[in-house]
Amino acid sequence: MALTRDQIAMRVAREFKDGDYVNLGIGIPTLAANYVPDNIAVMLQSENGLLGMGPYPTEEEVDADMINAGKETVTAITGASIFNSAESFAMIRGGHVDFTVLGAFEVDVHGNIASWMIPNKLVKGMGGAMDLVAGAKNIIVTMTHADKHGNSKLLANCTLPLTGVNCITRIITDLAVLSVADGAFHLTERAPGVSIEEIQAKTAGKLIVPDHVPEM
């Protein structure tokens, strides 16, 4: 069975280590915050200038001056820090953030990612995504393995305008966990009940399958 959005987020959260600083993109990545194991602590970075992002506020806690990078009202945890945008991106571009998790339209075997622009559709902008993929030490892409028409999103070469080059090393989809190295995708885990054949059929770029592929 293909994983749900929440199940993908649960698998993402298992990547985190105690003491990691993590930036989560909008969508499935944000859900990962709900599944951080109880025995570890991570600090969430929000690129508008908050390290130590907390949950959404109660009615009483709502403050127009406290928002996240998605412009939603938010709170800060004990031990948080708040700073300006240049400082925030110094953390990101300087490689101080341990993990970035973001969504994508396409990823290819060279570790390139396309996530912000579809030609002939209204382009709203890249926000902080290009800075994040250029700067983070570990980047995890979360997405469905194929689009709703069944077309693979894991390609030999991205077809859409890129967000970053040679920067993606790990992908968690609804079907599998893969690493990206040496011009190929390497299958490391599969979703429970999903066959290797299905993953192969939905992976357009070169895929290396080891003898044993454990279920997630």
Partner: protein, 232 residues
């Protein structure tokens, strides 16, 4: 000491000198930390063909979005736009130009301008449409693109507390681009929630030293929330 007193009494005085075709750097992230009264004054003035350097362009009836109504903006330099229908309409009709810039590069362009650095290399945007036509240089085996600083004829900033000398402190995430914007204007105007006397702010807690600031005005803010999301 009156030479250091930057407080002005009217919005007219605060934005005096702004004219058609100028570039304005604006602090704020979404609707958070925007200088609401200064934007309203620009609308009242009717100044046209303005270039705004700002992370976003507000929404239809608030923030920089209100300047779209009378087509006062010629160009936006932003990382994320299009939260407003009018913006989309003017973009598609060619009345409005947009230069999409990665958020970190945008902050650094302002910071660099204020610090006298004309350009800087960054890995952000290399190999993407943002890097097209820009100089590439390798450092330690990795390619970087050259990005130029952006300064403004004016910078408009929202502070939480400012003293009469222009020293500013920002509140929570309303800080965002405001400190960088403050350094990047030929004329920097601060709209503050509260103006205090010099000495009332702890010197080591000041985010923007008054040297960057030319004018300070007492504001009155609505502080609209763009996405109100509550705990379940």
């Amino acid at each position: 000491m009156s030479g250091f007193d930057k407080v002005v009494r009217s919005y007219e005085e605060a934005m005096k000198g702004l004219s058609d075709g100028m570039t304005v750097i604006a602090g704020g992230f979404g609707l958070c930390g925007i200088p609401e009264g200064l934007i309203a004054e620009i609308k009242r003035m009717g100044t046209k063909k303005l270039t705004f350097v700002s992370n976003n362009c507000g929404v239809d009836d608030f923030g920089l979005g209100i300047l779209l109504e009378d087509k006062q903006i010629k160009k936006m330099v932003s990382s994320y736009v299009g939260e407003n229908a009018l913006f989309e309409q003017q973009l598609l009709s060619g009345e409005l130009e947009v230069e999409l810039t990665p958020q970190g590069t945008l902050a650094e362009k302002m910071r660099a301008a204020g610090a006298g650095i004309p350009a800087f290399y960054t890995a952000t945007g290399y190999g993407t449409p943002v890097g097209e036509g820009k100089e590439v240089k390798e450092f330690n085996g990795r390619p970087y693109i050259l990005e130029e600083a952006i300064s403004g004829d004016f910078a408009i900033v929202r502070a939480w507390k400012a003293d009469r000398y222009g020293n500013c402190i920002y509140r929570h995430t309303a800080q965002n681009f405001n400190p960088m914007a403050a350094t990047a204007g030929k004329i920097t105007v601060v709209e503050a929630e509260e103006i205090v006397d010099p000495g009332e702010l702890e010197p080591s807690q000041i985010h923007t030293p008054g040297i960057y600031v030319n004018r300070v005005i007492q504001g009155n803010f609505e502080k609209r929330i763009e996405r109100r999301v509550l705990a379940k």
